[in-house]
Amino acid sequence: MKWLRAQLFSNWWSTLATLAILWLAWKALPPFVEWAFVDAVWRAADPRECRAPGAGACWAFIWEKHRFILFGTYPYGQHWRPAAATVLLISLWVFSSFRYSWKWWLPALWAAGLALIAVLMWGGTLGLPYVENERWGGLILTLLLASAGIAFAFPLSILLALGRRSGLPVVRAACAGYIELIRGVPLISVLFMASVMLPLFLPAGVTIDKLLRAQLALVLFAAAYLAEVVRGGLQAMPRHQEETADALGFSWWGKMRLVILPQALRLSIPPLVNTFIGFFKDTSLVLIIGLFDLLSTIKVSLQDPAWSGFGAEAYLFACLVYFAFCYAMSAYSRRLERGGAPRLLAQS
């Protein structure tokens, strides 16, 4: 009782706020629960069941469209391939989150994993029919854009960050100019650049398909933001580390590779995870240039006239999926900030 009083009714304002919240919850929660659960239509053979008077949320819509939402226009009989690729990719991420896996072989494992995913998705060998990447879509596309984006942007960002701190004025100006340019403009303008300007940049006869163009834009965009995070890690390094390395006669590359970067990158892991969450959310923008990512397949599902009008359900579902991924990552990042990654095996 005393605890409750201290927490909720310590003064007039606090009491007022508590009462207001309770009143709002009393007014809003029961109708919401009724709509979302009690009266909801979970499975329906016919959309008319959802339109019956008194029907709540139409989750049957999600069930009806779940294959398209998850896999886009990938050939129906081959859906196990993107499904397997999705599981593989998520497992790779989960595995990489354990400190135990932060070894020299992790990049090699990723290369192998991504190669396997490429075989699964494209096919054309091992008896798998070829599927051109115009037909890829849904969750795997979102995950691939984010994963491959980071995989290529990260090395580029290290170079940019080193360049921005370099003693050579031309190198420094080029890197700083690039980083500030990209960070100063919205992602959508970089995506427009890739989707409408890039074809003009290429020599006649050379074309890059839409997916790769979007991927390129995402890599260029992410690299600028990651570079600033890496630069933060570099700046946090005590000066004597560099001076000691110089005194020991390391070359510039040797000094960076063996002394500075291993320590600086470790320092920047928590902000790197946060940048990655932002980047994962940003991949949803490819919808605007017409790629079939998860958000796009959900939006397109709504265009089926038989099932139109269930936008609230569809986007709540989208919120739920994105939230699950981002929340897992931000919980992980908080854990890193508190004291290191979870260990896979108990180590001394």
Partner: protein, 317 residues
């Protein structure tokens, strides 16, 4: 080779590579433009745009006006939603940040949950959600919700009274008073609620950075809770709050470009229409980038000036 000579060589090589690369792209582009018979240059800005714009703010515009005027209307729409959004997001974010630190457990948990949920969902998803909520799930004007006297929520937009001018239902829609289109209302709601979650965290970190002794000293001098916050904590916290806050303002402005996805005629969506009509993609993207870069650079210049002003003497860097 000496270190200095090697440095010069590396720089010369980089400069040459960049120039050659850019030159190659420019040459390709010129060839492609010629082959596809696409005009170049900004002369198109003075030609007739030929499309209508849904909302033009305070300015007059019709389809016979030039592309330049259409783009200017787009820019004014961007600035309008960004300016209102910045004010509202700051207010909501500050309240949320303080609520999280306040003595009321229910309120602080609720504010924490708000921040956690909103930050972890892409803004674009939230914009679509608000947009269908307003345009599909609100009733038609005839049955509009009326939460406050004179304020009407309907699927045709949000209507509110102005001094001496209240909205009235006439025919199928409201006339008079102030009105927000569904697109503007969805964009503004999405930008404000999303950015407020980030601002709340910034405010919280700023307030927490003020040493406890400051609060205790203020309280023992007889200042009340409100005065302590207003006169002692916030002025000190602001020094830490302002730099990340300005970058949130910048993010909000850049994020307003997502308007193109829900059909609010901001600069990006007008430039997009213009690009589709004229095929002059380079000029279109370049003008979007130039405008946003100008905004970014002026905001960072302002931030630098402000930082120097609030910096403690002796700590100024």
């Amino acid at each position: 080779m000496t270190r200095r000579a090697r440095g010069l060589l590396v720089q010369a090589a980089l400069a040459a590579a960049l120039l050659l690369g850019l030159g190659y792209l420019a040459w390709n582009t010129a060839q492609n433009l010629e082959a596809r018979k696409i005009a170049s240059g900004f002369a198109y800005l003075w030609r007739e745009a030929g499309f209508e714009i849904g909302e033009t703010g305070f300015f007059a515009y019709n389809a016979a006006d030039s592309y330049l005027r259409a783009l200017a209307i787009g820019l004014s729409n961007t600035l309008r939603v960004a300016a209102i959004g910045v004010v509202l997001a700051t207010a909501l974010g500050t309240l949320l940040g303080l609520a999280r630190l306040g003595p009321n457990l229910l309120l602080s948990k609720l504010a924490g949950a708000y921040v956690e949920v909103l930050r972890n969902i892409p803004l674009l998803v939230q914009l679509f959600f608000w947009y269908v909520l307003i345009s599909e799930n609100l009733p038609a004007p005839a049955a509009a919700l009326n939460p406050l006297p004179g304020v009407f929520l309907s699927n045709r937009g949000i209507f509110f009274p102005l001094p001496g001018d209240a909205p009235v239902l006439s025919g199928f829609n409201f006339t008079g008073g102030g009105a927000l289109s569904p697109e503007f209302a969805a964009l503004l709601t999405g930008l404000v609620t999303y950015t407020a979650a980030f601002i709340a965290e910034i405010v919280r970190a700023g307030v927490l950075s003020v040493p406890r002794g400051q609060v205790e000293a203020a309280r023992s001098l007889g200042l009340g809770r409100g005065d302590t916050l207003r006169r002692v904590v916030l002025p000190q916290a602001l020094r830490l709050i302002v730099p990340p806050l300005t970058s949130q303002y910048l993010n909000l402005t850049k994020n307003s470009s997502l308007a193109v996805a829900i059909g609010y005629p901001d600069l990006v969506s007008i430039a997009n229409t213009a690009m589709n009509q004229t095929g002059q993609a380079i000029e279109g993207v370049a003008s979007i980038m130039a405008v946003f870069l100008t905004i970014s650079l002026s905001i960072s210049a302002f931030m630098g000036w402000y930082n120097r002003r609030v910096a403690l003497r002796g700590l100024a860097r």
